[in-house]
Amino acid sequence: MARPDLAGRLTLYGACVPVLVFLLLPSLVIVPMALTKGQMIEFPPIWISVHSFTDYLGDPQWFESTLLSFQVAALAVVIGCVTGSAAAVALHGKRFSGKGLVSGAIMAPIVVPLVVFALGGYLVFARLHMAGGWVAIGLLHGMLVTPYVFISVQTSLLAALNPLLVRSARSLGAGRLSVLRHVVWPAIRPGVLAGGLLGFAVSFDEVVVALFLQGPRAVTLPVRMFAAIQFELTPKVAASASLFLALSVLVLLAQGVVMRRRVAA
């Protein structure tokens, strides 16, 4: 392909840069706001202090919420990885009537409107006297993570698991468990990792379910931020949002590494 000339390149940048700025600005504007000297969240900020970060981490309620969000996400990722990969492996290469229905059911949590999903979850867990606890939020988030892991493991399986590998292994003396360990697991590992990372990000900033199922001891970070923006307007919100941003960047980078390794393998 010919190298675009200067005019062409200017046009390209002229079209792309505004779009990228438009997409990134709402995210990036948070960081300077977190670095304000003032006690209010405001724009432009009063340069420059890190007091909002120390305030945020020093506030027991905010700290507890952060910890809780990590806890919820961890539980969700464990559930999602186990169910999502198990489902993908079980359905791989099988043909039966109703397979589409089963796949549809696994994908349902991210297809059904989140409000409906959250309301249903709230009603069920209220009945079980579990609403208002972090475990309930973690369980529901686990359902949300499952489809992500399912899809990503399915992709791994299609790319790396030749059904003949399984047959080969069995003829070489491997029972079903050995096949899972020595043949299936190496094939799906990148998919589980990538799906789990994405799932972590999904759970960590999920707000609708967390809002419906919150309790006095179960306020996740996004829910606390939502409340704070309504009643407090402290720069702690911006500080915690910056933390989110950093986390997302980390997840993206980690996923990039996983994907690159998968390509290399």
Partner: protein, 386 residues
Amino acid sequence: MNVALPIVSAPPQQDAGQADARRHLEVDRVWKSYTAGVHVVRDVSFTLAQGEFLTLLGPSGSGKTSTLMMVAGFEAPSRGAIRVDGRDVAQLPPERRNFGVVFQGYALFPHMTVLENVAFPLRMKGLGGAVRRRAAMEMLDKVGLAEFAARRPHALSGGQQQRVALARALVFEPDALLLDEPLGALDRKLREALQVEIKDIQRRVGVSILFVTHDQDEAMMMSDRIAVMQEGRIAQLGAPDEVYLHPETPFVAGFLGETNLLRGQCLAQQDGYAVVRFAGDVIGPARVSRGGAPPCAGAAVLASIRPERIRLLRTDETAAGVIQGVVADRVFLGRHTRLTVQAPGQTLIVSTAEPPPASVVRGTTVRLGWSREDAQMLNETGEATG
């Protein structure tokens, strides 16, 4: 590509005099159907003797792969038994049978090194790390790949991958090797080289091989015996020259190579040979089929004569069967010359290694002859077959 294997100084692993020399595989009246009433394998029986190379040959859908998969344990027979040394293994899962299976594409584990691949079956048997590494190295040495032990399979050529797959399937001393069209996806040159290699490794290790292919040349070049399969049945089982020269059905005759099918009427038969009146009142002999009942006088029969078994007769020459015709086409094909001859009632293909005289061109009238063992009477009259 380098296909030469180093000569191994160690004696072959299994001598003929060893105690397990009688070990063999027996497939006994096996049927398979996936949907009620539709059988993909029908009443298949054969035995694989120790050290034998037996090929299941047939077109796709003939049941050859299904048969192999039942032996391997990936499919269960609907009826019938599969025995190893008299012990029925039909109910055992694949991992508890003792067969080395090699698939098309070889199915090497991509995340393991060559050595780990070959050591895998020993690991599954619970052998210790040092023991299995030593055994795997020995086997890799036998197939000439010792220096590639630390590589990953994708870093090897197709031929080297096949040797790894064979080493992996042989390292645990299986009762037999089962090969499911391992060469099916390769180009002809590489395929021929790998055929030689498989035979060579078999000769050195002394293992029995059950081989599946749809390629008749491959089957003939490699096998001790060939089972030609058609629509789930074994149409004919015998040595390559036997099934080629003495086919019992039009299908076998046609599947193993080009042939001339001649329709006729049986006049008499004696001592395994019949006198047949072919089209155009040509009277000649044909070998009676061993499989079917000998035809009685007056019955319609079908005989097969291979193009290279028909001779172009000189004017002073005669043969057991003689037919006259007009040359319709002459094609030089390098290793042989092919004549198409229009005889009364049929067109004959003649293939001669020695080029016919230059006077034989389109329009020349020629006399063709065959010996009585070259015309093989078939079991079917072949009304539907051309």
